[in-house]
């Protein structure tokens, strides 16, 4: 693969003296400042992108901690209140035999966010190091960006349950502080993923490129 990379360097738009609009895909000469189609600012490479990625990623990771520590749901059934965190809820579901749902919750609430953290960090790290990326990296980025929104499934569940299950004494569900944290975490990671300029993947330091 390394040989393949070397033998087949990717021709980038920048290398072609062009700059593409990130919004509409229109291609302009390199120094064009704004897209004539959609009015976006045209930048060949966003130098601050990595900083934003890292910043949002850190923010997402920071708020992910309370999202796991604090309870996600406060369920009050017949006056009895139980609070469950994300992981606690997963174990609770497993105790009840709902392995499928437990897996889904675990996948959506734990594996996906953690994977996103790792994937974004990995991509950003590679770019930071100036390692030339391949198409597989790009696919990874695409997957991360695509799947990020699905992490909100937990938040959706909590939101829907909180809205629906308000039966006063019999049963009532309130979102915990973790719900907010988790939602923030997902949002931050999505912003982080969006902040990432995938074009940086293709760039490699001049020195190494030859």
């Amino acid at each position: 693969m390394a040989n393949a990379e070397r033998t087949q360097p990717v021709l980038t738009a920048r290398g072609a003296g062009l700059v593409g609009c990130a919004e509409c895909g229109h291609v302009y000469p390199l120094n064009t400042k704004a897209c004539t189609v959609c009015g976006s600012r045209l930048v060949s490479r966003d130098a601050a992108s990595l900083q934003r990625v890292w910043a949002w990623l850190f923010a997402g990771m920071v708020v992910y901690i309370p999202a796991n520590v604090y309870p996600m749901l406060r369920t009050t059934t017949f006056g009895k209140t139980s609070e469950s965190t994300i992981v606690g809820g997963v174990f609770e579901l497993m105790e009840h035999g709902s392995y499928g749902i437990a897996f889904i919750v675990f996948f959506a609430s734990v594996i996906i966010p953690v994977s996103k953290f790792i994937a974004i960090a990995y991509l950003a790290w590679r770019v930071q190091r100036g390692k030339p990326g391949t198409s597989s990296h790009f696919h990874l980025y695409e997957v991360v960006e695509f799947i990020g929104r699905w992490s909100m499934i937990d938040v959706f569940v909590v939101a829907i349950l909180s809205a629906l299950v308000q039966l006063n004494f019999v049963a009532s569900i309130h979102p915990g502080i973790a719900a907010v944290s988790f939602a923030l975490s997902v949002a931050f990671t999505m912003v982080s993923a969006n902040s990432f300029d995938p074009r940086l993947i293709w760039d490699a330091p001049e020195g190494q490129k030859v």
Binding site: G17, A47, A48, Q51, R52, A55, W56, L57, F58, A59, G60, V62, V63, I65, P66, Y70, F78, G79, K80, T81, S82, I177, S181, L184, F188, S195
Partner: protein, 817 residues
């Protein structure tokens, strides 16, 4: 490949400093971090104070879920449930909110609230769904924070911060009290009982109670608690009644309290109330047991104290002034070696004795020292009508033997006691019933038999037998009175008087002797009537005696006690004795001097009569002699005329005048003097002798000779007449004879009054006979006496009937006829 050869680009990018390249986006993670840390810090700082509560049983307590509540508001959560090192108790770590943590100090109590269904209702129902929770209670004042607590198994009644008072009750029987039983005051629940527990020695059941404010202000040492558990069935004059306070108290038991009197002393720390079985007992035991109140005394009783027990009353004139605190026996050194004596310990309430409330022991003892000196004694008395319970009674006896309050070092002062009047109290129906209640019926029958024996004995009694004897003696006395020598002598004396009077009828008539005698006889008649009345009152007395026997003795019999106890020895004997004494007195009355003096008075009357008669006799004799003298004078005038002719006659006459007649006069004078001077008997004698003398005088030689002399004189006069025919001597003599004839006529006239006197005497004799016969057979007195004896017989018969009736149905004594 053709190289487009772009323009030589100077694309070397300016080296920017790191700071200048730093994006503002970095603020986001910093903010997120700050917020997260802030939340974490807030959580950490708000997580509250950890306290540790140990429970014997923490069933239902779940870490993280079980909450700690204060006034049903969640103030904490159990964080951990674990055991003590020895697994003896469960430790629950509770995270308490910081805002309440300062209030949780030493006095805080915790208990687990669980659903509970009891007779008083259902509590903790919410915990059925929500699970148990820990309830805490503490006061409103912040205190030093304490970490370790011991949880209670049941909700404490005196929760800290709840106004009220916690008291302790002591009772003998804990079956009717249970945890949570209400404490009622006039039917209003003012508190609750806690769980009963046994005292250290296991003899008493102690139970704490918590009285809510403001009702705890009512508590004082005058407060009495009693049990109202269950229901009470009573069947009495008011009918059948079921009594219970409330359904809750019916099932779980309840306690009621009330103040028996005002101004009770405030409670002292550690004061223990006695829980009485019922209201009556509580009200009866007005005084507190124990040394808290009352001054201790002890009383030594010689007699049995069976029926007396601790807690019985000590009364002074019916007022409860103390309580018996204990009975004990003690060996005391007596005159004949050690003796076992019964000592009753009592506690006297000075306030109830009227001493000032602040009077302490010494003042009370001073008072009792004085009281004992003035006759206060202790004695046993029965508690009530139909019980053999005893109480100690303080009485003031005037006749009490001298005694002093014995003060022994180290012991309670000893009050002197006197024999109780249990055995000889006045025979009342109460006493009889009480006695019958106390004694078996056989004993009563035995007593009835012994009563009968007593009556038999009484019938054989000397005194009773002496009653007829006394009556006989009375009759004898009366008879003796009637047959008195003096009275007996009356007829003979009267006879003698009659004899005298026969001779001196005219004079007697003139002297009013007959009237005097009549009045004397009338007096005698009155006296006889008086005696008769006296005799009649004797039957009335006998009648009274009979009535006494018929009415009072059965009444006495009805009071079996007194009769059984005392009548045998005292009452009837005394009655008989007094009856006898009365008869004796009547006897003595009849035999007394005054009555005895009646004959003497009669005699005196007759004596007076005699005196009068004698006077009359004397005067009459003089008069007669005077008239004789006049006649003689006239005769002498004639004679002196004649004497001129008959000197012999004159000489004779002179002889008569000079010797015989003066002698007679002297004699008569002596008689008159003697009659005046002599006493009755002597008077009679002297009268007799006077009569004799008169007789003798009449029959005397001289007097006898007088006719002879007169005859001689007449002869001489006849001779003289014969000599002197025309001297008129015969005419004078005829006149003299005419005078004598006149005298004889007047004597005859006087004799005519004699039958009248005889008739009076006859009447007197008849009355005397009537008097005598009134004491004879079928007389009023005899009838009365007989009826009296008949009444006695009736009384005895009714007594025997009563005894038989009692023998048949002893119940009638209890229930009445």
């Amino acid at each position: 490949m053709s190289d487009p050869t772009p323009a030589d680009m100077n694309v070397s990018q300016p080296r920017k400093s790191i700071l200048r390249n730093l994006s503002f986006v970095w603020l986001v993670p910093i903010l997120a971090l700050a917020v997260s840390l802030g939340i974490a810090w807030q959580n950490f700082s708000d997580r509250g104070t950890l306290i540790e509560i140990s429970f014997g049983n923490a069933s239902g307590v779940v870490a993280g879920e079980t909450t700690l509540r204060y006034r049903d508001v969640v103030v904490g959560t159990a964080e951990d449930v674990r055991f003590t090192d020895d697994l003896g108790r469960v430790l629950v770590d509770v995270r308490v909110d910081n805002d309440v943590a300062p209030f949780i100090d030493d006095e805080a109590v915790f208990w687990v609230v669980r659903p509970e269904v009891s007779a008083r209702g259902i509590s903790g129902l919410s915990t059925v769904l929500s699970g148990v929770y820990i309830e805490g209670a503490w006061d409103n004042a912040p205190g030093a924070v304490t970490q370790q607590f011991e949880g209670a198994d049941t909700p404490p009644l005196n929760q800290p911060g709840r106004p009220g008072r916690r008291i302790t009750l002591a009772t003998d029987d804990g079956t009717t009290i249970s945890y949570g039983s209400p404490v009622l005051f006039r039917g209003v629940e003012v508190g609750r009982l806690e769980t009963p527990r046994l005292s250290a020695d296991g003899r008493t059941v102690l139970v704490d109670a918590f009285i809510d404010a403001p009702h705890d202000q009512r508590l004082s040492q005058a407060t009495r608690f009693w049990d109202t558990s269950g229901f009470e069935l009573s069947f009495g004059a008011s009918g059948f009644s079921v009594d219970f306070d409330s359904l809750a108290s019916l099932v779980t038991g309840g306690v009621v309290f009330d103040n028996l009197y005002d101004d009770g002393e405030p409670l002292t720390p550690g004061y223990v109330f006695t829980l009485y079985e019922d209201e009556d007992e509580a009200r009866r035991n007005r005084l507190v047991r124990g040394p808290a109140r009352g001054v201790a005394f002890s009383i030594l009783f010689d007699e049995s104290v069976n029926g007396l027990e601790a807690g019985d009353d000590v009364t002074y004139q019916g007022l409860d002034v103390g309580v018996v605190t204990g009975l004990r026996s003690q060996v005391l050194e007596g005159a004949f070696g050690p003796e076992l004596s019964l000592i009753v310990d009592v506690a006297i309430d000075p306030q109830r004795m009227g001493l000032p409330p602040e009077a302490a022991g010494p003042e009370t003892i001073d008072f009792f020292r004085f009281a004992v000196d003035t006759g206060m004694r202790a004695r046993l008395a029965t508690e009530s009508l139909l019980s053999s319970d005893l109480r100690v009674e303080l009485v003031v006896l005037d006749s009490a033997p001298t005694a002093r309050l014995r003060e022994i070092d180290g012991e309670a002062p000893r009050l002197p006691s006197v024999e109780s009047n249990l055995s000889d109290f006045t025979a009342t129906a109460e006493g009889v019933l009480e006695r019958i209640n106390a004694l078996p019926i056989e004993e009563v029958m035995q007593q009835a038999i012994s009563l009968m024996e007593a009556f038999e004995q009484l019938a054989r009694n000397e005194d009773l037998q002496r009653v007829p004897g006394s009556a006989v003696a009375l009759l004898d006395d009366t008879r003796a009175l009637v047959g008195n020598e003096a009275i007996q002598a009356i007829p003979s004396q009267i006879e003698a008087a009659v004899n005298d009077l026969t001779a001196l009828v005219a004079e007697i008539r003139e002297g009013g002797a007959v009237a005097s005698l009549n009045s004397a006889l009338a007096n005698l008649d009155d006296a006889m009537v008086g005696i008769n009345t006296a005799s009649q009152s004797a039957p009335a007395l006998a009648e009274n005696l009979a009535k006494l026997t018929e009415e009072d003795i059965p009444a006495v019999l009805a009071e079996l006690q007194g009769v059984a106890q005392t009548a045998q020895e005292l009452k009837l004997d005394e009655l008989v004795a007094s009856a006898t004494a009365t008869l004796n007195r009547v006897d003595a009355l009849i035999a007394q001097e005054a009555v005895q003096g009646i004959p003497a008075a009669v005699t005196a009357a007759i004596e007076d009569v005699r005196t009068i008669v004698a006077d009359v006799q004397a005067e009459g004799a003089v008069q007669a002699l005077g008239s004789s003298m006049r006649n003689l004078d006239r005769a002498m005038a004639d004679i002196s005329v004649a004497s001129q002719d008959a000197p012999a006659l004159t000489a004779n006459l002179r002889q008569i005048t000079e010797s015989d007649i003066p002698e007679l006069l002297t004699e008569l004078e002596a008689v008159a003097t003697t009659a005046k001077e002599l006493e009755l008997q002597a008077l009679v004698d002297s009268a007799t002798s006077t009569l004799n003398r008169v007789d003798a005088l009449v029959g005397s030689q001289d007097t006898l000779e007088l006719p002879g002399t007169i005859n001689d004189a007449l002869t001489e006069m006849r001779l003289a007449l014969a000599e002197l025919r025309d001297g008129g001597v015969v005419e004078n003599l005829n006149a003299t004879l005419q005078s004598a004839s006149d005298a004889a006529g007047s004597v005859a006239e006087s004799v005519e009054d004699l039958p009248q006197l005889t008739a009076r005497l006859e009447r007197l004799v008849a009355e005397t006979e009537a008097v005598v016969s009134s004491y004879g057979a079928r007389s009023d007195f005899n009838t009365q006496t007989l009826s009296a004896l008949r009444e006695v017989q009736n009384a005895a018969k009714s007594i025997s009937e009563l005894a038989r009736a009692i023998e048949r149905s002893p119940n009638s004594l209890i229930f009445g006829r």
